[in-house]
Amino acid sequence: MKKAGKDKDVFGAVSRRTFIKGLGATAVSTVAAQTAAVAQELERVNAEKVVGPGAVPVTLTVNGEKLQLQLEPRVTLLDALRNYSSLTGSKEGCDRAACGACTVLFDGAPIYGCQKLAIEAQGHEITTIEGLAKNGSLTKVQQAFIDKDALQCGYCTPGFVMSVTALLNKNPRPTLEEAKHACSGNLCRCGTQPHILKAVLEAAGIGMAEKTGKTEGIKHA
C-alpha cells in the first residue's frame, strides 16, 4: 500500500513517486515546451523513473553480447542468467552470498550474481564462465584446473575459475596467501581446495614443489 510521502517538490500535493510513475514516455517529448525550471525537473524526474513491480525491459551485457529480457526488479542477476537465458554455467549454491558458486565478473571484479539485482547490472560488463574460452580455446586458468584436477563434481568450479581469473588479471604472480585470500569467498564440499591452489600457481607460472601425492609400494610378510 503506498502512502503519500512528504512532499516538497514543484508539483504540489501529489506524491513525487506517483507523479513520476504517471509521466511515462510523454515526459521526454514535452520537455522543450516547458519552462527551464520545469524542464530541469522533468529531466531529473526521467532519470529517477520508477519501474516495477511488474516486469520491465532489462538489457544485460553478458560476455560481450546484449541480452534483452523482461524482468521484475526483484529478479537477481543469477536468476536472470540461469532462468531467463541459457547461461546456466553460473550455479546457485545458496542464494545468500555465502558460497561463491554464482561468482561472475562485474566490470572485471568478482561479485555474487545472487546478490545483485539484474536491473542494477545494466550498463556494466558481465563476464560469466561461458565467456572465458575464446573460440573454444581454454584460458590458462581453465587448463590449469584440468591439469591439477582442481575439480570433482564441478558445481563450485565455475565460481572458483572466475575468482582465480580475476585474481590473476589483477595480480599475475600471487603468493599462496594471496591466492587463499582471493578464493576465500568460494566454498567447495568435495575438497578441491588443495588442487585449486596448485592450479592457481600453475596458471601464474609459479611451480609448487610436488610434495603431495606419492604412490608407494608396501611389502607384506
Binding site: 521484475e72 526483484r74 529478479v75 536468476d79 540461469r82 532462468n83 541459457s86 546456466t88 554455467g89 550455479k91 546457485e92 549454491g93 545458496c94 542464494d95 545468500r96 555465502a98 558460497c99 558458486a101 560469466t128 564462465i129 561461458e130 572465458l132 581454454l138 581453465q142 584446473f145 584440468i146 591439469d147 584436477d149 575439480l151 570433482q152 563434481c153 564441478g154 558445481y155 565455475p158 575459475v161 587463499k180 585470500h181 576465500s184 568460494n186 566454498l187 567447495c188 564440499r189 568435495c190 575438497g191 578441491t192 581446495q193 588443495p194 588442487h195 585449486i196 591452489l197 610434495k211 603431495t212 601425492g213 606419492k214 604412490t215 608407494e216 609400494g217 608396501i218 607384506h220 610378510a221
Partner: protein
C-alpha cells in the same frame, strides 16, 4: 580367471579427468540446469512448526497467482508433521517469483503442538515430549557383551574414562537436492541430481504406480551427494505430480535452507567410554554407553543405508572384554541418511580419543600403543609410513609441553572400510565403429569421484588406446544397469566391467578381423575390417578383479592459540591403501575430499537445533560452517598401490580418521582434552579453564 595386467601404461598413472572441459567451461548441464521445453520452476512449502497437526491446506489463492500452473499437497487429509521443514505442499510456475508469491498464498490451518524436543539429552529423559506418540524416544538399548568387563577392569594397569560427543553433520552438497521431471502420457523422464539412477527409477515407478520401463533417469553431471541422494525423494515425487498437473516439465531444486531440514544428516553420538589396558599395553577392557539421534526416524529414507545412531565399538581394535550399550534417540528433526562412511567417523572419533588418553596414562607413545593393539598389518605398516612423513619421532612431545602461547601438537587415528568391493549387478556395453571409435555405456553415475575417467583409463589400458579415444557414457537408465554410487562401490564395479567389455570386444574384433592381437596400432586396421557394421559387445562384473576391505591412517599436526582458542591445522598426512589404483590424479582428489570433510567435522560443522522454537538455527553457509580454502592445511596423500588386491573403492575411508587425528593433535598440543566436536575456540578456552561462569541477571 581375469587378472589385471602387471605392466600398466595408464592404470595407476595420472590421467586428467575426461569430463573436465565441460565443467571448467560451464557447459556441463546438471539437473538444476536443465531447460526442457516449456519448463516450469517448482518450489516446496514446508512446515514452520516442529510439531503440529495439519488440519487443512488451501491451495486456491496460490493457484490464482499469475504464472502458477500447478499446485499439489504433499499429503492428503489431515496429517501430523514431526519436524521443522517437513513438506506440506508444492507449486510450479513460470518464474521463481511466481512460486515465491504462491507459497505465501497457501493457507495452512494447523494446530501447532508445544510438545516437541530437539536435543538428544532432553529427548532421552523420562517424561520428555514424545516425537512419536506412545513410543519412547529412546530405543531399547542394543547391548553387546564379550568376556567380563568388570573383573577385566580390575586387572588393568591403567584405566581411563571419558565422555566424547560428535554433532549431527549435514551433507550440504554444493548442488542441492532436486530434479527436473517431465511426466507425460509416454512416461516419466527425470534429470536427477542423484547417486543412484536405478534407485530413482525404482522410487518414481513405485510412487507414481508406473512400470519401471516407463521411467527414464538421466544424470550426466551432478553436484555431490555424499550419501544423501538416493531414491526419488519427496521433492522428486512432488515435481512429477506438478508436471502431470501442469503438463510441462518441472525443475524443482531445494534451497540451501531446505538442505538443513529434510534431506538427511549424519547422526550424533554421545559416547561414555571406559577403557583399560594391561601393563604391557594390551587393551583389556572396553565399556561404552552411547546414544545419538537419527532424527525422527531411523534413516529409512535412504537407499544407501544409514540406519540408526549405533556405531561399531570398539572401533578397529580388538579388546577381549567388552560391554557396549547403545540407543538411538528420536528428536523432532529431519531423518538421518547415510553420510560418507556412515557410523565410522563417530566410532573412530570416540575410540581414538580414548586410545590417546589411555596411552598417555600408561606413559606410552600413542603411536606405539596403536602398533601394539592394531590387528591389521596393512594399517600397522601405514602408521610407520605416515610417521616418517609427518616426522612423528621428532615432533611428538608430552602433552602440553610445547612452549609459548601457540602450542603445537600431533595426533593420529586409523580407518577401516569393509565395503568398496564392487557389485555383481553392474554390467556394461560398448559399440565399436569401423572408424575405430568406441563408446562405452554403463548405467552408473559420476558424482565427482571420476567414474567416467576410470572407465576411460581401464578401456585405454585394455585396448592399447589413449583415454581420450574412448567415449564414455554414464547416467542413463537405458544403459546396462550399474551400482549406485555409495559404499565406495562404483570404481570396483565399473573397472572389472570395463575390463570384461574390452576383453569381449577384443575377442570378437580379433575373430572378425583376422588380427591375432587387435590392440594398440592394430586397433584401427582391425576395426576397419568391420566393414559397415559396428560391433556391439557386453560385459559383466568379474569378482577376481575387485577386492577389499580398505584401511588407512591419518596424522594431523595442529597449532592451538591458547589465548584465543583458535585451532589451525598445519598438515595432514593421509596414508591409504587403495588396492589397484586406477587413476592416481583423481584418487588424490578423493582422499583430499575425505580429509576436508573430516576436518570440518572436527572443527566447524554442527547442525544447531533451537530448544525453544524447535527450528534449525543454522540452515545456511553463514553459520553452518564448511572448511574454507584458508582453513585447509597442506594435505600429503600417500597412496599405497596394492595391485594384487584388485580394485577397491576408497571414497569413504579417507573421511573416517581425520577428526580423531585432529582432536588428538589438539589434546597433545594443549595437554587437556576437548572432548566435544566441533572443537571451536570457545571449547578450547573452556578446556583450558579460562572461561568465567555465566552471570545471572
Amino acid at each position: 580367471m581375469p587378472e589385471w595386467p602387471t605392466v600398466r601404461k595408464y592404470i595407476s598413472g595420472d590421467t586428467r579427468r575426461v569430463d573436465a572441459v565441460p565443467k571448467v567451461t560451464g557447459r556441463a548441464r546438471y539437473s538444476s540446469d536443465i531447460q526442457a521445453t516449456g519448463w516450469l520452476y517448482g518450489m516446496i512449502l514446508r512446515s514452520k512448526w516442529p510439531a503440529a497437526k495439519i488440519l487443512s491446506v488451501n491451495l486456491d489463492k496460490a493457484l490464482k497467482i499469475p504464472g502458477i500452473k500447478a499446485a499439489v499437497l504433499a499429503r492428503d487429509g489431515q496429517f501430523t508433521v514431526r519436524y521443522y521443514g517437513e513438506e506440506i505442499a508444492a507449486v510450479a510456475g513460470t518464474t521463481k517469483q511466481a512460486c515465491l508469491d504462491a507459497l505465501r498464498a497457501i493457507e495452512v490451518n494447523a494446530e501447532p503442538s508445544p510438545d516437541f524436543v530437539v536435543h538428544e539429552d532432553d529427548a532421552i529423559k523420562d517424561g520428555s515430549p514424545q516425537v512419536w506418540k506412545g513410543v519412547s524416544n529412546a530405543s531399547d538399548p542394543h547391548v553387546r557383551k564379550r568376556g567380563d568387563v568388570d573383573s577385566a577392569f580390575s586387572e588393568c594397569a591403567a584405566i581411563i574414562e571419558g565422555f566424547y560427543s560428535t554433532p549431527v553433520q549435514l551433507h550440504n552438497p554444493m548442488e542441492t537436492h532436486g530434479n527436473t521431471v517431465s511426466w507425460t502420457d509416454e512416461g516419466v523422464t527425470v534429470w536427477a541430481s542423484t547417486q543412484g539412477i536405478g534407485s530413482v527409477q525404482d522410487g518414481f515407478a513405485g510412487a507414481l504406480g508406473l512400470d519401471a520401463s516407463k521411467v527414464r533417469v538421466l544424470t550426466d553431471y551432478m553436484g555431490g551427494g555424499f550419501g544423501s541422494k538416493f531414491g526419488a525423494g519427496v521433492e522428486g515425487v512432488l515435481a512429477a505430480r506438478l508436471s502431470k498437473q501442469a503438463n510441462a516439465p518441472v525443475r524443482l531444486m531445494l534451497t540451501r535452507f531446505d538442505e538443513a531440514l529434510a534431506v538427511g544428516n549424519r547422526p550424533s553420538s554421545f559416547q561414555k567410554i571406559k577403557m583399560g589396558a594391561l601393563a604391557d599395553g594390551k587393551l583389556h577392557a572396553f565399556q561404552l554407553e552411547n546414544y545419538g539421534t537419527p532424527g525422527v526416524g531411523a534413516g529409512g529414507d535412504s537407499g544407501g543405508g544409514g540406519g540408526g545412531a549405533n556405531i561399531q565399538a570398539p572401533y578397529l581394535y580388538k579388546v577381549p572384554n567388552i560391554h557396549s550399550s547403545q540407543r538411538s534417540v528420536a528428536v523432532n528433526a529431519g531423518s538421518a541418511r547415510a553420510f560418507r562412511a556412515p557410523g565410522n567417523p563417530p566410532a573412530s572419533y570416540g575410540m581414538e580419543c580414548a586410545m590417546d588418553e589411555l596411552a598417555v596414562k600408561l606413559g606410552m607413545d600413542p603411536l606405539e600403543f596403536r602398533l601394539i593393539n592394531d590387528p591389521v598389518e596393512i594399517r600397522r605398516n601405514e602408521y610407520n609410513v605416515g610417521a616418517a612423513h609427518i616426522g612423528w619421532k621428532e615432533k611428538y612431545k608430552k602433552p602440553g609441553s610445547s612452549p609459548g602461547v601457540v602450542k603445537t601438537g600431533i595426533g593420529c587415528a586409523g580407518a577401516n572400510w569393509p565395503g568398496g568391493r564392487g557389485s555383481p549387478d553392474t554390467s556394461g556395453e560398448a559399440q565399436i565403429n569401423p572408424d575405430g571409435s568406441i563408446e562405452i555405456r554403463i548405467g552408473v553415475q559420476d558424482i565427482g569421484t571420476g567414474t567416467k575417467t576410470v572407465i576411460a583409463v581401464v578401456a585405454a589400458e585394455m585396448l592399447g588406446l589413449r583415454p581420450d579415444q574412448i567415449t564414455v557414457k554414464v547416467g542413463d537408465t537405458n544403459f546396462p544397469p550399474g551400482t549406485g554410487s555409495g559404499g565406495s562401490n562404483t570404481c570396483p564395479s565399473v573397472a572389472p566391467v570395463v575390463y570384461d567389455v574390452c576383453s569381449n570386444a577384443l575377442q570378437q574384433l580379433q575373430s572378425k578381423s583376422g588380427f591375432a592381437d587387435a590392440r594398440g596400432d592394430n586397433w584401427f586396421p582391425a576395426c576397419k575390417k568391420l566393414g559397415v557394421t559396428p560391433l556391439k559387445v557386453t560385459g559383466q562384473w568379474q569378482q577376481s578383479l575387485a577386492g577389499g576391505p580398505a584401511y588407512g591412517v591419518q596424522f594431523a599436526e595442529v597449532e592451538v592459540d591458547t589465548e584465543t582458542g583458535l585451532v589451525t591445522v598445519k598438515k595432514i598426512v593421509a596414508v591409504h591403501d587403495c588396492g589397484l589404483i586406477i587413476d592416481h590424479l583423481t584418487l588424490e582428489s578423493q582422499i583430499n575430499g575425505g580429509c576436508i570433510i573430516g576436518m570440518g567435522y572436527a572443527l566447524y560443522e554442527e547442525r544447531v537445533m533451537d530448544r525453544v522454537s524447535g527450528v534449525v538455527l543454522n540452515p545456511n553457509f553463514e553459520t553452518y560452517k564448511l572448511s574454507g580454502i584458508a582453513d585447509v592445511p597442506e594435505i600429503e596423500a600417500v597412496l599405497i598401490n596394492m595391485p594384487e588386491r584388485g580394485v577397491i573403492g576408497i571414497g569413504e575411508p579417507s573421511t573416517v580418521p581425520t577428526a580423531g587425528a585432529i582432536a588428538n593433535a589438539v589434546a597433545n598440543a594443549i595437554g587437556v582434552r576437548v572432548p566435544h566436536l566441533p572443537i571451536t575456540p570457545a571449547k578450547v578456552l573452556a578446556a583450558l579453564g579460562k572461561v568465567p561462569p555465566p552471570v545471572t541477571a
